[in-house]
């Protein structure tokens, strides 16, 4: 396996396709950026697919090539961690529509020019279908899927679309549909991008001058939803930034302002504005019940998959009641389901942070499934 070019970090594959999309269009070919860690065992039963969140990427446990920072889930993935390359064959792929090596608006279309807004609108299910193509390419038939936030939506979609392939599924801080409030926040972000004069209808790639201001504002608005009020108050309160008194102007007087500005600015270096439009749209369209006749339990009818769901008590973006309604549907379908609401002050972001109980639950759940 060491000499197999399919495996390792910073990989990319272009599959001939075609990929039939929910929106009716066909994408061909399909390029997917991905990483693998660990070794696929003899009967190919130790595969774990990790699904990333909205602005995540495939660098789950390796240095990010742009930022130089460690992977985004090194607390969960690594030696001695619940997901361990010593035991597991770990795959993490950049989602369809994103900008870290998978086909998306920044990729060249057949005419050699970037797709930009000509890229077809995609869904969470389209992302999952593309991942399934990648796993076929890697020789993985049966797998465990793990993901938080939008990653959790992909895990749910995997279990519903490929029930015979998913042995176990871990869904953290997620939901089976996007609420009106979720859609509303995303719309603010999209409007910020499209209102930026540098957006130019999405055709900004040649200029080397992307709509960074709009994207930064979108990120700032979204970032607030990832935190909790208590967490923000504890971290910043009304403290002023590098000054003794209010400036009576519109500089970043408050620490929370300069924190958000920093979050927005550092984001534009690593993310494409059009990808942000497409992926938030995919999330907004997501409604697993609607895809299954309006009844969520129908999505899991007859499933053999083991499920584990975790929510956080301060997460108001994907609150506990969203996880509970999934659990109720799983119970109604007779599925083997576990669920726990964990306590954390960090809001939605808790799934990326140091919450020992989360790791304990995931570790126990995976080991009990023979992983």
């Amino acid at each position: 396996m060491e000499h197999d070019q399919r495996f390792g970090t910073q990989r990319s594959v272009t599959l001939p396709g075609p990929l039939a999309l929910d929106g009716g269009q066909i994408l061909t070919p399909v390029t997917i950026g991905y990483e693998t860690y660990g070794t696929l065992n003899g009967d190919a039963s130790n595969a774990i697919l990790i699904c990333h969140a909205l602005t995540g990427d495939q660098h789950v446990a390796s240095l990010h090539p742009v930022t130089g920072k460690p992977g985004w889930w090194t607390r969960m993935v690594g030696e001695g961690k619940p997901i361990d390359p010593a035991r597991h064959f770990i795959v993490c792929a950049n989602v369809l529509g994103s900008c870290m090596g998978s086909s998306g608006p920044a990729t060249a279309a057949a005419d050699g020019q970037p797709y930009a807004m000509r890229f077809p609108v995609i869904t969470i299910r389209d992302m999952v279908r593309a991942q399934a193509m990648l796993l076929d390419h890697l020789g993985v038939r049966v797998l465990t899927t793990v993901g938080g936030s939008m990653g959790g939506m992909q895990v749910l979609e995997w279990a519903a679309t490929y029930p015979e392939r998913v042995r176990s599924a871990v869904i953290v801080a997620s939901a089976a549909r996007h609420s009106a409030q979720n859609i509303a926040f995303h719309e603010v972000g999209r409007q910020a991008i499209m209102a930026d004069p540098k957006w130019r209808g999405g055709d900004y790639y040649a200029s080397n001058d992307p709509p960074a201001d709009g994207l930064a504002v979108a990120r700032m608005a979204a970032h607030i939803t990832y935190l909790s009020e208590d967490g923000l108050t504890e971290k910043f309160g009304r403290k002023l930034q590098a000054r003794e008194s209010k400036g009576f102007g519109f500089d970043a007087d408050f620490q929370v302002e300069s924190y958000l500005r920093h979050q927005g600015l550092s984001f534009v270096d690593r993310f494409d504005a059009n990808s942000y439009l497409y992926i938030t749209r995919a999330m907004d369209y997501f409604d697993l019940a609607e895809e299954h006749g309006g009844l969520l339990a129908n999505a899991f009818r007859g499933t053999k998959t083991r499920f584990c769901l975790v929510s956080f008590d301060t997460d108001w973006l994907y609150p506990t009641r969203e996880s509970r309604s999934i659990v109720q549907a799983l119970n109604a379908a007779g599925a083997a389901a576990s669920f726990v609401e964990l306590s954390s002050p960090f809001g939605h972001d808790a799934f990326l942070l140091d919450v020992p109980e989360l790791f304990r639950v995931v570790d126990g759940f995976l080991k009990a499934g023979g992983l």
């Binding site: 609401e341 964990l342 109980e357 126990g364």
Partner: protein, 201 residues
């Protein structure tokens, strides 16, 4: 059933474990850290599911490979379809629910049979404590003072029998415990510290 895990079980749980049919499906409501579920799974091949209110207990149960959902017997049973389980198990929890009658209805809807165990508030030590001491009892099975007890619907064995009779619920089995020893049915309402009933519609 046999094995060390069974011997380590609380006496009422051991009775339940001994009477759940191998290979059946059981829902343990208020399953704690999953001790009974693990014993049922490991020694009788029971497909056991659990509900537990305490997050720490849920994490422990999930970590031992059990399917446990954090939830509350008073509200979360409604989400389970009818006849989804062969047994619904409610051990030492009935007296802590807000609406015990509705919880029992749900148990018998979800499971074909239900095990219910509860402390007997007509046990002679409890009576003696009130009669002679004039104080709310604090005993081995009721170890918490009046202001901190989770028990909000105190009941006796005779209360439970009357409840079953009034609703035409069938008793398939009844076990009466004093400490970890079974006592006879004779004067159980006076002599037993707690009781285990196996009931069905």
């Amino acid at each position: 059933m046999n094995g060390q895990a069974l011997l380590a079980l609380r006496p009422d749980l051991r009775i339940i474990a001994d009477h759940v049919a191998p290979g059946s499906r059981a829902l343990d409501i208020g399953c704690g850290d999953g001790a009974l579920m693990a014993a049922l799974r490991d020694h009788a091949g029971v497909d056991a599911r659990g509900i537990e209110i305490d997050a720490g207990n849920v994490a422990s149960a999930v970590a031992r490979g059990l399917s446990v959902v954090q939830g509350d017997a008073d509200v979360d049973l409604a989400g389970y379809p009818s006849n989804a389980f062969d047994y619904a198990i409610l051990s030492q929890t009935l007296q802590t629910t807000r609406a015990p009658d509705k919880v029992l209805d749900e148990l018998l809807r979800i499971g074909g049979r239900a095990f219910v165990s509860f402390p007997n508030f007509a046990y002679w030590r409890v009576r003696a404590s009130l009669l002679w001491g004039g104080r709310m009892p604090v005993t081995r099975t009721l170890p918490v003072a009046w202001y901190a007890t989770p028990n909000i619907h105190h009941l006796t064995i005779d209360d439970f029998r009357a409840f079953l009779k009034a609703r035409a619920i069938v008793t398939e089995g009844a076990w009466f415990l004093n400490g970890d020893r079974l006592t006879s049915e004779w004067a159980a309402n006076f002599r037993a510290e707690h009781a285990v009933f196996l009931i069905r519609r």
